[in-house]
């Protein structure tokens, strides 16, 4: 009898606990109660109450994505753009609930776009939310919009159903040209926290023609501390990528004197080394770049694959690369922003000397002598050895 009583009691206890633990899922998040954010934009706007942040969320409509032919047939968009205002990002995010029946859900956010005017006035006030909150992922890309982020997120573009995912794919494929520098939230956090290395972010712009609007990646925004101070164009961006060692592929086009025809070479592989040195006690940086190339396209009829012409081609390619790096370096000196991370190279590899001149890096950097050594090797000439038609 007593055993029966005890068994009953124990069972009741187990059942009560399990009832409380299973229905009491305080943090449950059901898919049909969430608005999954794919892209998020932040702008600064003037309203009647003063400066406000305009938040734009591109939300995936799950039911439309599931049946694409239906969605395509009915001409429905598979995403929804929603907007809200707030003094801080967090307030704005909660203010979405005024008009959206579902709570914004950030773990699947792929791109964070920041309006240019906001970027110029400083990133610190808005970036904290994305680092502090447990929902946003560290690997989402951050971009600066030329103009307003809200405009970019409202355009249906390209082949992808969701524009934010299209932007994400564009950034993923930056290697085809190596003229765009994709920056993740984590990279940006590191750059903002670094004492010497300054942040850069890719820029995106809305191009409207008479027929339709599209979005396009264009150049790089340069930051000093957390404020945007200038831009790099696409060639300068590749100059930056060369030094950062992020060039994976891409095309270099140049003219080989004395001919007036264009030659395009494809980058096969690139390696770079940054050598921080001290010459007479003064900091000096050597950037060494080794590139392997393929001849991609030759638009003149002369046979260039003989050894002497080959060397000339290699030299010209090296000069082309140097020119790109010098252009980026000139911009870096102009804005006094060390986005190459030369300061950090000194800090990690010349720590003793760094202690003496590190604190004055801002004064040293614009005058820092930078030597650029590029060596190019042509590995293959493509499928043709000579110009195919006239020979």
């Amino acid at each position: 009898m007593r055993r029966l009583l005890r068994t009953t009691l124990a069972l009741t206890l187990v059942l009560t606990v399990s009832v409380f633990s299973s229905i009491g899922c305080w943090d449950k998040k059901e898919l049909d109660k969430l608005a999954i954010v794919a892209g998020f934009g932040v702008d600064q706007v003037q309203t009647a109450e003063g400066d406000r942040l305009l938040l734009t969320a591109q939300i995936i409509k799950a039911d439309q994505v599931i049946s694409p032919e239906q969605a395509g047939g009915s001409g429905k968009q598979s995403f929804l753009t929603d907007q809200s205002y707030g003094r801080t990002v967090f307030e704005g995010v909660r203010n979405f609930t005024f008009e959206s029946s579902r709570r914004l859900f950030f773990p699947h956010n792929r791109v964070l776009i920041i309006g240019e005017s906001l970027a110029r006035s400083g990133l610190h006030p808005i970036i904290d939310f994305f680092i502090r909150d447990p929902e946003p992922r560290p690997k989402q890309y951050v971009l600066v919009a030329k103009g307003k982020a809200a405009d970019i997120l409202s355009v249906k573009t390209g082949l992808e159903e969701i524009p934010a995912l299209a932007i994400y794919e564009l950034l993923q494929d930056y290697g085809a040209t190596s003229k765009v520098y994709p920056v993740t939230l984590q990279d940006l956090t590191k750059d903002l926290a670094s004492k010497t290395k300054t942040a850069v972010l890719p820029m995106i712009e809305l191009v409207s023609t008479s027929k339709k609007k599209t979005i396009m990646l264009d150049g790089t925004a340069v930051f000093k501390s957390d404020r945007m101070v200038g831009e790099l164009n696409i060639n300068e961006t590749r100059g930056l990528l060369w030094v950062l060692g992020k060039v994976h592929s891409g095309i270099i086009v140049f003219k080989l004197p004395p001919y007036r025809h264009d030659i395009s070479m494809e980058i096969l592989e690139a390696n770079r080394q940054i050598r921080p040195e001290l010459r007479n006690g003064k900091p000096h940086v050597t950037v060494v770049i080794d590139v392997e190339m393929i001849i991609g396209e030759i638009t003149l009829t002369k046979n260039l694959t003989v050894p002497r012409e080959n060397e000339k081609l290699e030299r010209m390619a090296s000069q082309g690369i140097k020119k790109e790096i010098r252009a980026a370096l000139a911009k870096a000196r102009q804005f006094n922003t060390d986005f190459f991370g030369f300061g950090e190279a000194f800090h990690s590899r010349r720590p003793k000397a760094w202690k003496t001149f590190g604190p004055n890096w801002d004064q040293i950097f614009p005058q820092l002598p930078v030597e650029i050594k590029v060596s190019t090797v042509i590995r293959r000439v493509g499928e043709a050895t000579k110009f195919p038609i006239l020979q």
């Binding site: 305080w26 447990p134 560290p138 590191k190 670094s194 590899r349």
Partner: protein
């Protein structure tokens, strides 16, 4: 008496139990404060200091084979002072257990379930530990036999997955930390987690063969320091200068794993590591407290106290510190000083007095 300790533990089991205990919270909260490129060295130094402490504990345990610290204190210090010493020790064990609970709670509250009531969380978390303690030491040991290898596996797997994000430049400059700073960090590492092995003075008596326990301790320490250094290096390599920015850098680093959009969100493995190792640590602490208190009060059965200790440890876990930031600041700043008397002074003084009084005398051995 001591029915919880039935089924004795072998030396290899001690290695795993001790490793689980040491990794307990340190697998989530890296000991020693902010990570910098020389932290690994501080870990090694701290592990060395911890080994010295472990020698003291082992010497004490060997002098009084089969006796827990509560009994040892009574034998060495006499009836009244002995009571005070063991009471202080029991408070430390209880409070350390509650701190583990607080760490549990903080982590789950911040990262996983922000709006679930704290009381329910702690009751459930410590409830699992209480169930393990109720079943006895052997069950805790067997749990560690399964969970510790799993944790080692997960740690290595995560380190492997982080290779694409790893930047060796983040680990430089090497050996630039001033020596006093390094020593300070190493002392922190010695008190947390290595010095906390003092709690094993309540476990060692239930060991099968005590003469081989030294090698077990050394292996467990080496294993722990290896896991800690792996975690520290991969975290610093991935996060670099922003590592000190986060509450849980180890967890944050694993959030950046993203291999082809499929192998992603692996930070759950870090959570699992912490929850399993924390379970072992809290269980050992709860066990030590229950056994110690019932010996202290001269109770007939050990099981009497398991349930009250469960509830009380959960409650103290709620009343420890108001938030995560305070918990971590406490672990890195005050805890080394707070733990010093319990981890160093009391065992060392007990050992010295026992040696002076030539205890235990012949015939007194149980």
């Amino acid at each position: 008496m001591a029915e919880l300790a039935q089924g004795r533990i072998s030396n290899i089991q001690l290695v795993l139990l001790l490793t689980g205990f040491l990794l307990g919270t340190s697998i989530l909260i890296l000991p020693g404060g902010d990570i910098h490129p020389d932290t690994w060295l501080a870990f090694l130094l701290g592990c060395g200091q911890g080994l010295i402490l472990a020698f003291i504990y082992l010497a004490l345990a060997r002098r009084f084979p089969g006796q827990t610290f509560v009994k040892i204190a009574e034998a060495v210090w006499g009836r009244y002072i002995g009571k005070i010493v063991s009471l202080a020790f029991l408070w430390y064990v209880f409070h350390a257990g509650a701190l583990t609970t607080t760490n549990f709670l903080d982590f789950i509250k911040v990262s996983i379930l922000p709006s679930t009531p704290a009381m329910l969380l702690v009751l459930m978390l410590v409830g699992v530990c209480a169930a393990a303690v109720w079943s006895g030491l052997e069950v805790i040991t067997r749990c560690s036999e399964v969970l510790v290898p799993l944790t080692i596996l997960f740690t290595l797997f995560l380190a492997l997955m982080l290779i694409p994000d790893f930047k060796a430049a983040n680990l430089q400059p090497v050996l630039q930390t001033p020596l006093p700073e390094l020593l300070k960090t190493s002392v922190r590492v010695a008190t947390f987690p290595f010095g906390e092995t003092v709690i094993f003075l309540m476990i060692l008596p239930f060991l099968n063969k005590q003469n081989k326990s030294l090698s077990s301790v050394v292996i467990a320490f080496a294993l722990t320091v290896f896991i800690l250094i792996t975690g520290m290096l991969r975290t610093l390599g991935v996060l670099g200068n922003v590592a000190p920015l986060y509450v849980y850098p180890l967890y944050q680093a694993t959030r950046s794993i993203d291999l082809g959009h499929t192998l992603t969100r692996l930070e759950i493995l870090t959570s699992i590591n912490f929850l399993t190792m924390g379970f072992i640590k809290a269980s050992v602490q709860l066990f030590a407290f229950v056994v110690g208190l019932s010996q202290f009060l001269g109770l007939k059965s050990d099981r009497t106290l398991v349930v009250p200790a469960w509830l009380l440890m959960s409650l103290l876990g709620l009343y420890n510190l108001p938030g995560v930031a305070e918990t971590i600041a406490f672990t890195h700043t005050v805890y080394p000083f707070y733990a010093l008397p319990f981890e160093v002074f009391i065992p060392l003084a007990t050992l010295v007095v026992a040696w002076l009084r030539k205890l235990p005398r012949e015939g007194q051995q149980p």
